[in-house]
Symmetry: C2
Subunit: 205 residues, 2 copies
């Protein structure tokens, strides 16, 4: 018997919401996707989306199967102020990725994201809306988008070299040594006044 | 009629050498692979491998379809000395990747490398033996392997954010601005005495 009208709560409905959300986020991006549109596509009431997933942020985190919510980690890392935040950010990143419980699914997410444009878009939306935007919100700096994207480039590269490509000695260097070596890079990207400034003519020699 | 004995030169032989080389490099790594072993696996004379590909470096570059030979670029970039090398390295990297002729196949190589352990190993061998090792050879610094792997992490992350994930504003920032912003990171990784040193206890606070 064909069902008509809106679905009521069931494991099927939860999966239908996830499928509709994944398609909407990948197709239109995080900002242009509404809970209401996801509910319509899934054939259910918006209240049911809120019931299952809470906020749009949480719905998005569920669609990418994020092993943790960056919003729960970032404020603590940045609470000590911008200076020294780099080492704490790198240390936190490595704690998440060195732990198999969170690191294994995170690695699977990045691997899958890099295979297809579709999932690369999901990873970009994840980094920009769930990580970088929340870092920017904590920081009072100019050129915040460029600064945080530069931070993302160093973080993403560290993930790639340590976990995907496993290039030595970075693959097996203790996290604390890496945090001390890479932390000042992050600090500079977040605070140095020369970031984003046009170089003087001929400066690239 | 079944062929016996060693193959003579032909397009088939060239392809057989490439296939044998790809398998050997991925299986045993660059250093443990000899031209002789590749020739044996391809059923031809080692002289034919040299005839088609020249050196083992060149054979390896052919198996990964590298769009250019890093050995032809790195010495010029480092000729001006370590100081300021960072900006020149980033500028050179972006010139190669911004140009569709070299950038498109390079991006295809990285995409494919990230999909499978097998090809990730090839990319790791490429970076370590063809890029990082040649950079180390030009530099007189301590802890060269860690320093160059850290350089690789920033370079790989820049590639990932600008070309794979296309995170703004890094995706569309002029190369000269990125070189000026990221160059000092590379300089610090190559020269700063604190790189690779254990942090004092409690330093990650």
């Amino acid at each position: 018997m064909a069902r008509t009208g809106r679905r009521r709560g069931s494991p099927d409905t939860r999966q239908a919401i996830l499928d509709a959300a994944r398609e909407a986020f990948a197709d239109k991006g995080f900002d242009a996707t509404s809970i209401r549109a996801v509910a319509t596509a899934a054939g259910c009431d918006p209240a049911l989306v809120h019931h299952y997933f809470g906020t749009k942020d949480k719905l998005f985190l569920a669609t990418v199967q994020a092993p943790l919510d960056p919003a729960e980690v970032i404020p603590a890392v940045l609470a000590g102020g911008v200076q020294g935040a780099g080492g704490r950010l790198v240390g936190t990143l490595l704690r998440v990725w060195d732990d198999p419980v969170t690191g294994t699914p995170a690695l699977a997410l990045v691997r899958s994201a890099l295979q297809h444009d579709w999932s690369a878009r999901m990873l970009r939306e994840f980094l920009t809306t769930q990580v970088l935007r929340k870092v920017v919100a904590q920081l009072a700096v100019d050129d915040a988008p460029l600064r945080t994207a530069l931070v993302a480039s160093q973080m993403f590269g560290l993930i790639g070299v340590r976990y995907l490509l496993r290039i030595e000695p970075v693959a097996s260097t203790p996290a604390a040594v890496l945090a001390a070596s890479i932390g000042p890079t992050i600090d500079r990207y977040l605070t140095d006044p020369s970031i984003g400034v046009d170089p003087p003519p001929g400066a690239d020699g």
